[in-house]
């Protein structure tokens, strides 16, 4: 559906996105994650034709895509952050205007979309008088009016109260049954609740692209903890660090007696590979005893933090 190949975007001297390469197949919900200013909005703006990339190739359905690709834009529904709309218009009139712009039948499509997003009771009110939750629904209705194949939603639940968040998430889930949805967020519960796939962007570069299961499992790093005896701390660290696939070994404090000669370490892998069998075999070879060996379950927040460590650049979200 969407393909980015080595896409970059500069704002003057500032590089907001660099070397972005990924493709999004049809169907499902893709979460675009990253700290503020990471390049999420820039990516979405390029994907929807609001911005032209400074470098690289963007394709929609195998065709090169740019802000002037009028036909391809019909396949996309875009909800910018904070769901801007013409606040002086009635919700109905606004959607009718958009339906006309897209060349779809106003009389059949507008009521259909209003029903789909649950806006029936508020359709004839000026948008400025609607609550934030209802304004968000108007925004979602705007993205759906022309029945697009791809929906791009920039922080669709930002600023909503918990009830509204649940409602909007349910709505997105319902929409994703028939369409491809790309949404940006930095709320991990949202990712967990909605997404099938995660793309993490940090400082304008892709840091992770994989399934929600891989992301949940710790992204590209696995951590295991080991409590061992019969070996010195220095030897243990040296031994484990020499194992293939190990990125680093850190000594940890133990809650054992002071007199105990046990050593606690945390081993980090350079990939998603589970290192426990390898550590177990090494213990056999070297003759040290394993008292504890377990994998650390990393919360999504921790995975996100690990992937996006380091200072962020200036916020690109205008």
């Amino acid at each position: 559906m969407v393909r980015f190949e080595d896409v970059g975007k500069d704002y003057g001297d500032l590089t907001a996105l660099e070397g972005a390469t990924f493709s999004i197949p049809r169907g499902g919900i893709v979460g675009l994650l990253g700290p503020n200013g990471a390049g999420k909005t820039t990516t979405m703006r390029i994907m929807t034709g609001f911005l032209e990339p400074s470098r690289g190739l963007v394709e929609i359905d195998g065709e090169p895509f740019s802000p002037e690709s009028v036909a391809a834009k019909r396949k996309i529904g875009y909800l910018p952050e904070s769901a801007p709309s013409y606040s002086d218009m009635l919700a109905w009139d606004y959607l009718a205007y958009e339906a006309r712009l897209h060349g779809v039948d106003v009389d059949s499509r507008v009521p259909e979309v209003i029903r789909l997003v649950g806006l029936e009771s508020h359709a004839h009110m000026p948008i400025r008088e609607l609550s934030k939750g209802y304004r968000q629904r108007v925004g979602l209705a705007h993205t759906l009016i022309h029945d697009p194949e791809l929906l791009v939603l920039d922080e669709p639940t930002s600023g909503l109260d918990p009830n509204q968040i649940v409602e909007v998430r349910n709505l997105i889930r319902r929409i994703a049954e028939t369409k491809t949805v790309v949404l940006s967020t930095h709320i991990m519960q949202e990712v967990e609740a909605l997404c099938d796939r995660v793309i993490v962007i940090h400082r304008g570069r892709l840091r992770f692209d994989g399934s929600i299961e891989d992301f949940d499992a710790g992204g590209d790093t696995q951590r295991i903890r080991l409590l061992a005896g019969g070996i010195s701390q220095t030897d243990l660290v040296k031994d484990l660090a020499a194992l293939p696939g190990v990125r680093d070994v850190r000594v940890r404090s133990t809650d054992e007696d002071e007199s105990s000669a046990l050593v606690a370490v945390e081993v980090r892998a350079g990939s998603a590979e589970d290192l426990r069998p390898r550590v177990f075999h090494r213990a056999g070879e070297r003759g040290f005893d394993i008292y504890e060996l377990y994998r650390i379950r990393t919360s999504m927040e921790e995975v996100f933090h690990q992937l996006t460590q380091g200072e962020t650049q200036g916020d690109q979200n205008e």
């Binding site: 009028v70 834009k73 019909r74 910018p80 709309s85 013409y86 606040s87 205007y97 712009l101």
Partner: protein, 231 residues
């Protein structure tokens, strides 16, 4: 594009903007016209047309300032730009809506023509030429307005820049005394007032039409380029 044009027209007429501007325009033009008309007691519209380049230069930027600047400030431009419209479509639709609104301002002034025609024998040539020129003049100011509204997110900046540019083109020939002799024909040619004068005498000069059309086209192309460059 038609839907965007219709929305822009609605935005002008569903809010008090166009009506307030139209009333102010009519009241001020009436005061300026009739105060002199009864003094000279001549059945002609010259006095009204003489004031028109400056009057429209003051009014059109006020109508134009919201066109793009407001959309960019409110974030709706991001929606507009991702709809199946090219930048050219956006510029043309907004220009046509502003031009049509500007022409609407001229309609009530037909009362002057009717009044003068009732009081004396009015030569139709200068009146028809004058209104034809006024429609073209409104188009040029509309194009300038679209451009100045595309320059900044601030409507105030759009208004001030619109006033400066429109008044400059309206009053260019008033500065002829200040420019070197060799540049006089160029300044005269660029001046909207100079070309508009011809129309108000009932002369439809193709050079003047070309000038008005090319000046409007120039500002529309620059607006399109400006918006495209912001991508």
């Amino acid at each position: 594009m038609r839907a965007l044009f219709a929305r822009e027209i609605k935005a002008y007429f569903e809010t008090p903007v166009a009506w307030v501007v139209a009333v102010i325009f009519l009241v001020v033009s009436s005061l300026l016209f009739f105060s002199v008309f009864f003094l000279f007691e001549r059945a002609e519209m010259r006095q009204f047309f003489n004031n028109l380049p400056v009057m429209l230069a003051l009014v059109m930027p006020a109508l134009a300032m919201r066109l793009i600047a407001e959309e960019r400030r409110r974030g709706t431009y991001e929606i507009l730009a991702t709809l199946p419209l090219s930048t050219t479509d956006i510029v043309i639709a907004k220009f046509l809506a502003l031009w049509a609104t500007g022409v609407f301002l001229l309609v009530p002034t037909l009362v002057f023509t009717i009044t003068v025609g009732t009081l004396g024998r009015l030569d139709p040539g200068p009146v028809l030429g004058g209104y034809f020129g006024a429609v073209l003049l409104t188009g040029v100011y509309a194009a300038i307005g679209v451009f100045t509204s595309s320059v900044s997110r601030s409507e105030t900046v759009a208004l001030v820049l619109g006033l400066v540019l429109s008044l400059l083109f309206a009053l260019l020939r008033s500065f002829l005394i200040l420019v070197p002799a060799m540049l006089v024909p160029l300044f005269e040619y660029l001046s909207l007032g100079f070309h508009f004068d011809g129309f108000t005498r009932g002369i439809i000069d193709s050079r003047s039409i070309v000038h008005f059309v090319s000046l409007a086209a120039f500002f529309l192309v620059v607006s399109e380029r400006r918006l495209a460059a912001q991508r």
